[in-house]
């Protein structure tokens, strides 16, 4: 066992390389899991496509979209809801990856991760980055299929300019999921969270209809939608896909990402967090 170095005294602290190795390892594992769970990939892809081909096709006659930024002309309803569906993919992915954290924690995998000597905030952030990376891949897979139906940005550059927005939104929604996962004790409760988090967030947003239409029917709901970070996630993606920048959306998404991640780190903190109270 001396070859493994069992008797050697490790150097104090960790090098930058060791941090990078950890980040790489966590992302690599998430990617491997993703590849192995083919049904997860397929369902992540089918869900938005169902919305696109069935829901949008049915609704295009009902909902008229006026010219609103970032669009310079009338757009088809399919084009309008695509950023919302891209964000939906990431919303589901963020919640699913936190579902895997609840599941992992029960199965013990999470404990393996939390016993890492690297700082816990770094391990959790790595996990978050891994989830965001997977969600970005899913979005591009969806865009590749949507391209065949002429749902595309005005120029191919849009595929590139949307990338930073996707990464930020992936991190924010992943952080929200992580925060929730620290508060949920049992798997059963998660189904409730799906109903109480995913659906309200998705429907009370600008994903499916422009907010001016919501305002016409209910001013209160309009303000709920405005306060919903998911609305800003959708708008950030919508604008960047059209090579434009929405400072308000960016500010809200960035701010929420920081707050949610901070909350998750506190919740997983050994001394202050939820685990100590629940005694897991």
């Amino acid at each position: 066992m001396t070859e493994i170095g069992i008797k050697s005294e490790p150097a104090a602290g960790f090098t930058l390389r060791q941090y990078l190795v950890c980040l790489y390892g966590v992302v690599w594992r998430e990617a491997l899991r993703f590849v192995h769970q083919r049904e997860r990939f397929v369902s992540a892809l089918v869900r938005p496509l169902v919305w696109l081909f069935i829901f949008a096709a049915g609704f295009r006659q009902v909902l008229g979209i006026s010219i609103i930024p970032p669009y310079d002309t009338y757009v088809l309803y399919e084009v309008y809801i695509t950023p919302g569906l891209m964000a939906m993919i990431q919303l589901f992915n963020g919640m699913q990856s936190s579902l895997s954290m609840v599941y992992d924690r029960e199965m013990g995998n999470m404990r393996t991760m939390l016993v890492s000597p690297l700082p816990r905030w770094f391990v959790l952030t790595s996990k978050l980055a891994a989830g965001a990376a997977v969600s970005v891949l899913q979005v591009y897979a969806y865009l590749a299929i949507a391209w065949f139906w002429e749902i595309e940005p005005p120029t191919p550059l849009g595929y590139l300019t949307v990338l930073p927005a996707l990464i930020l939104v992936g991190l924010m929604l992943g952080a929200l999921g992580m925060l929730l996962s620290s508060l949920i004790r049992q798997l059963e409760n998660f189904a409730g969270v799906m109903n109480f988090v995913i659906f309200p967030m998705f429907f009370a947003s600008s994903a499916l209809y422009p907010l001016w239409r919501v305002q016409e029917s209910s001013p209160l709901l309009y303000w709920v939608c405005q306060a919903n970070p998911f609305t800003h996630a959708v708008e950030l993606i919508r604008f960047s896909f059209y090579e434009k920048f929405d400072p308000l959306a960016f500010g809200v998404v960035f701010g929420c990402a920081v707050v949610f991640l901070g909350g998750a780190i506190v919740a997983y903190d050994p001394a202050r967090g939820m685990l100590v109270r629940k005694g897991q």
Partner: protein
């Protein structure tokens, strides 16, 4: 338990409670390097809580835990890198191969893929699992998974190893196998081991024993001393006298 060298694990006056319920009450003991220490207690004695505190899943409300002198609360990185853990629950990722599981663990300790592959093979050879390196974890038996988990726990070269009821759910041969492997590590590598169990027949004559009951340490020291102090004939008898409860032994 040792006067000259630094203890592998020091637990000093640790108390912990969940709300009103006290899970650990002024628990103190130590594990010497190169010793096989059995933490003996029934279900609900506080073993799992203690395990969670040493592995820093959460922090102790009172008291101090140190690994080779490094306080788990104040220097978690230095403490945890010297610690290898085998959890009671199966913690291998079933969809990944044995070697991928090891590489992931190595990454969590900042060990890169090339070095992880090298260490992984050595560690798997030690538990006679090298020929299964490429197999999916799902394809392994319970005993084989445990052996891989032990190899994994050794990958980063810890000097203290914690095993939480590692033989639960294993058949007699696999149990003997696992205990044999871990004892040889203690003998050959000077590894300090804390082995929690509720099975009395896993205690060896030369082991150190900590008897934990309802959150309190009732006795700690070499098995022979614990037996003698309790005025008992064997460790099972000593456990019964100390706790008033009958210890469990498996056939």
């Amino acid at each position: 338990m040792n006067g000259t060298t630094e203890a592998a694990l020091t637990v000093e006056r640790v108390s912990h409670s969940y709300g009103q319920r006290k899970a650990l009450d002024e628990v103190s003991f130590s594990v010497a390097p190169g010793s096989f220490t059995v933490l003996l207690g029934l279900n609900g004695a506080g073993k799992s809580t203690l395990f969670s505190l040493v592995t820093r899943l959460f922090a102790a409300r009172k008291g101090r835990i140190a690994i080779f002198g490094h306080d788990v609360a104040r220097e978690p990185g230095e403490a945890l890198r010297r610690l290898g853990v085998v959890f009671q629950a199966r913690t291998l990722d079933l969809d990944l191969s044995v070697m991928q599981n090891l590489a992931y663990h190595a990454a969590l300790h900042g060990i890169g893929p090339t070095e992880a592959a090298r260490r992984g093979l050595v560690a798997l050879e030690r538990v006679a699992m090298a020929d299964r390196a490429r197999d999916k974890a799902r394809a392994l038996s319970g005993g084989q998974m445990r052996r891989v988990e032990i190899a994994r726990a050794l990958l980063h070269g810890p000097r203290l190893m914690l095993l939480d009821e590692p033989t639960v759910g294993l058949d007699i041969k696999a149990r003997a196998d696992i205990i044999g492997h871990v004892r040889s590590l203690v003998r050959n590598e000077n590894l300090g081991v804390l082995w929690t169990t509720h099975l009395i027949d896993e205690v060896g004559d030369a082991d150190d024993v900590v008897v934990l009951h309802q959150g309190k340490v009732l006795a700690a020291g070499p098995a022979a001393a614990v037996i003698a102090n309790a005025g008992a004939r064997n460790i099972g008898d000593a456990f019964t006298r100390l706790t008033g409860a009958r210890a469990e032994a498996t056939a």
